[in-house]
Symmetry: C2
Subunit: 228 residues, 2 copies
DNA sequence: TGTACATCAGTGAACGCGCGTTCACTGATGTAC
DNA sequence: TGTACATCAGTGAACGCGCGTTCACTGATGTAC
């Protein structure tokens, strides 16, 4: 039993090492992750990787889940601050951006164009929604504290879908508020992708400030007061 | 001269055919465009493609410019409508979305994660900015017509950069307005990418309505009155 | 109008490469009695 | 405590594939006199 757990521990370490090297490859070579190159880098036969991941897709899935979780943790920790609600949203946005700048290819893996021939399995969902849960949590708290106007109710066909989103974020949250939170996250996500994928090249250099400028617009839409 | 132009015309047609088939391949196989597969599909030797494009990168560049121009034309035509300013923006947004839905891989080519090992050359810029010029044109017209508040001026370091953007959009446009137009375009772009890249899966099905919901928020931020 | 030459499109074989995955195997580690 | 067996990590060769690009070539089209 002690011994069995040793073997298991070594196995877990090896699994981690493969993922770590694969992440480095993603960062250096871009999206074309090669199993053989990873194995070569570790110094093992490429066939040995198959003891740990049944296929390249499975390795990709592991990397995607790790990325979602790492980003999710960063967002959660930034969102937890004790400041004003709007400040917490902005801090979370900056934290997400900084995470992305530090790992552009992991960002591209989860929010960029889909990898050809790869379909994300179901079990990524829990990790994938952590950021929107963190942001939505801020909004839900603000609403519960009475710091947020309800806004105009939604018409069909959006209303029922927004209702479902609201139920995930917090019981009692008005659907329209939940949808604004979701839209706000997509705006943040788009702004960061725009920066990372080169759309601001030769146009905006003060990226952090520009992102904050955009987030302030988003927050006004959501209804969260921003102190200047 | 007549004969010379015949040869030139045949050459132009062949160039078009290669691009057309390459676009079909992009649509069917995803981002991994293969010169050989394109040549095979046309029924010519793969080496013959080199009479038309010096390399795979050059073909990619041609496809990117085509995509920008095709999208730009769609946006310009939607933006030209004689309606209210906000309506024109919304129509343009829907037109851009529909263009993207019809050609998801061309959208990914220009707004998705960068293609590994490919760097876009300078001469894509003119085509790349057509959409933002169309959207910015609406905002500039609205401002010239007095239908748009100036809003709060920007602080350093954003002000000078916004000034440059405003100069490109329309002389006399306040920098902060120009930056909101730019931000609004990025939000639109992000919303469409979110839909295309799968972020709304199992969450929002009424995508067109959701996009409009978001655009209305954007327009309120920009300061364009939206009639319900 | 006819001829000699230059230009150009297209061919097919080859180079050199890397890839994901499988398979029979060796040798070490763990398990049961 | 010692032995027989089962499990597992890792190897190295191989399969079958596709890729971008080059090169010497053929044959048709265009040009100049």
């Amino acid at each position: 039993m002690k011994a069995a757990s040793l073997r298991a521990r070594v196995r877990a370490e090896m699994t981690e090492e493969i993922k770590t090297v694969a992440k480095r490859h993603l960062a250096e070579e871009g999206a074309n992750l090669s199993l053989r190159a990873v194995a070569r880098d570790i110094g093992m036969a490429s066939s040995a990787v198959y003891r740990y991941f049944a296929s390249r897709d499975e390795l990709l899935t592991a990397l995607i889940i790790d990325a979602y979780d790492s980003l999710g943790a960063a967002a959660e920790s930034a969102a937890a601050g004790g400041d004003a609600f709007a400040r917490r949203w902005i801090d979370t946005g900056h934290a997400v951006r900084e995470w992305a700048l530090a790992r552009p290819h992991e960002w591209a893996l989860i929010y960029g164009s889909p990898v050809p021939g790869y379909a994300a399995p179901r079990d990524t969902v829990t990790s994938a929604i952590r950021v929107i849960l963190a942001l939505g949590g801020i909004v839900a708290e603000a609403h519960a504290a009475g710091a947020l106007p309800d806004g105009e109710p939604l018409a069909e066909p959006l209303a029922p879908e927004a209702r479902s989103v609201a139920d995930v974020l917090a019981p009692g949250l008005p659907p329209q508020v939940a949808f604004r939170a979701l839209g706000g996250w997509l705006q943040l996500c788009g702004a960061i992708s725009a920066e990372l994928f080169g759309q601001l090249q030769n146009t905006v250099e003060a990226r952090r400030e520009f992102l904050e400028f955009q987030m302030r617009g988003t927050l006004a839409w959501i209804g969260l007061e921003v102190t200047p």
